[in-house]
Amino acid sequence: MTIAYQRAVTGRRAGRSLSLRRREELTGYLFISPQVLGFLVIVLGPIVAVVVYSLQNRTLLAPEATFAGLENYRHMVESDPYFRRMLLTTAIFCAGLVPINVGLGLCTALLLSSNRRGDAVFQAIFFLPVVTSAVAWAVVWRYAFQGELGPINQFLAVLGVTGPNWLQEPTWALVVVTVTRALKTVGLKMVIFIAAIQGIPKEPLEAARLDGANSWHVFRHIMLPFLAPATFLVVVITMIGSMQVFDHILLMTAGGPSNATMVLPYYIFHQAFRAFDTGYASALAVVLCVLTLGLTTLQWAVRRRVVPDEQ
């Protein structure tokens, strides 16, 4: 239709008003504007503010701040005695948590994806930790891992094993904190994997079995490639989540013993709310964000090779 005819139909004079298409666009923008506004104010705004704060000498005790350039970053790399150790601890925590969490999620999904009687009950049970308060989770596990009166060591004593004082020995504390956090979200990954498994077409599986493939071959060569997109997603979100764990550390060990479980998010909290140095804390937060982003980008780049083309 010509523009002239359009204008004739809608009765608007030429050049005066918006075309239908423009009006529809405007309507669309206005409808999404609350969400976008929320995003800008609540998400993007603070992120930009943190980047700006990281370039300032800013304290939590006053609203004014002076520009400091890259001073905070220089301090982090050159003179902070804790920074490197904390990066390492965070890396170990993530490297431990992701395989445990994703692996258990996949295993439980494989066991519970056949829609047998009782599967739903077990799925609900495994999902319970996901909906449990993180505070309650950490507090109860902390109680369980007490050195002498704790149920876990008492149980081990029955078996004749003397358990260590789990949360007071640096290495064990990190192990316990990693494993207990990994267990919490297994249910969520399980649900994602179940959905993915149930989306695998039956024909290749049946064909493979007819050809004499055993369960392991079926899993390794048929199911895994189909699960690759879901696995990729789960690994990425688990990794991102593991680099943000703070509440669990605070409640189980408060970064101890001997700073063995001091991960970067906890150190950021310490710098911001105990030492009141929000400029430095912001710089640490920027570094954490960049690291997380970098790892995610790396995984995206690797995705091409690992995840087969989806149909």
């Binding site: 139909v9 529809e24 504007s33 005790l61 007490q146 002498e148 030492a275 929000t278």
Partner: protein
Amino acid sequence: MFRRQTTRASQAARITPRIAASLLVAALVTSCVGSTATGEGGSGDSNQSVTLRFSMWSNNEAHVAMLEGFAREFRKTHPNVSVEFVPVISSDYLQKISTALAGGRPFDAGWLGEGDVSQFVAAGVLADLAPTLSRTKGYELNDFIGKSMQSWRRGDKIYGVPFSTSPFLVYYNKDLFAQAGVATPEELTARGEWTWENFRAIARTIREKAGPSVYGFQGHDGALYDNVTSFWNTVVPAIRAYGGSIWDPSTGSCDLADQATVDAIDLFRQMVAVDKSMVPPGEQADFFAGQVGMTINQLSRTSLLEEATFEWGIAPLPSGPAGPTSFYGQAGVVVFNASPHPDIAAEFVAFMTNRQNVETMAEFFPPARQSVLDSPAFRSSNAAVGEAGMELVADQVRQGESFPFPANFADVNLALKPELDKLWSADADVAAILRQGCEAVESLLTTS
């Protein structure tokens, strides 16, 4: 000329964007106007109505009622001033007041723990109260026991007034003592034998007699291993009794490796690792649940014993080679510089810490004013503890001294904690560990 033909759809397409747009604008306008800040009313003129916002960490009804009573009295001499008391959960307290400061909407005045004063003074956010206090008639600043102002003074400036000077005392479980057949602290004090050595022996006996789920001694708040402040609250009584000292932030010298200090801290190590009479790291046995024979804590914890299933008592801190000792922790009232009405806020602080009001507060908070400590009213103010107990408290306040808080306590703690964590094994070399602790913190020790 065509007639205007508007279909319903195009009508809607014309109106809806306008409705949406106007709703959006309305939302933006109301959010920008927002809530008006109280306490804004110019620069504290006596003609304008002023509301002071006062932060506190207790939501105990009796405390709030008492403070509101002070506000009403203050209004009689300052008719345009009202005070709004804002209770904040104590675990969030520092965060709340610091974010209020950072956000440019600070409280006018409020409570502050003495451990935080140094950091706040170093940041320049506390107002100097000395001019207001000296010109308040009948205030009598000298009525405050000299040492009680230690944490709040910097030279001639006064950054806060302590409203609670709470000594650390030994709480003990009378039932467990009777069960173990050991002499009570009162009996030992009468004989002059209430020493740290006997304390240790009692803890060991209780542990031996009462079994594996009962301990002889628990550190302050059960948090001795997690929280450096609780560590100090537990060990400083022994350090002082042994004649040791910790550090001097004004000179930057660290005395942790001195023999007396080493001996005092080694006492606790032996109780944990050798006698096994002290609640060890990671265990959650609690005195207030009746599972431990003794603990060290402040008077305010008697509120946890209201429904205790056991008989309990309080006792002074044991004495050591350097004699008897006292140690207290304080909370004070401060005024924030960034308040819109610092002068009026300072006047209110002066009012609420005058002699009469300190006497009223003494029902809940041990006072630092000599005249109130000496009064019979104070001695009979706590029925659960009794007169003898309150006389003990008064005595401890008169003789005691605070902890020497450095300006950057958080950084010092972060550096010191990993060393302290190594103290608790049977073969730990306490002197070497404390020497390393000194090396870790010496460069950080400053006062504000």
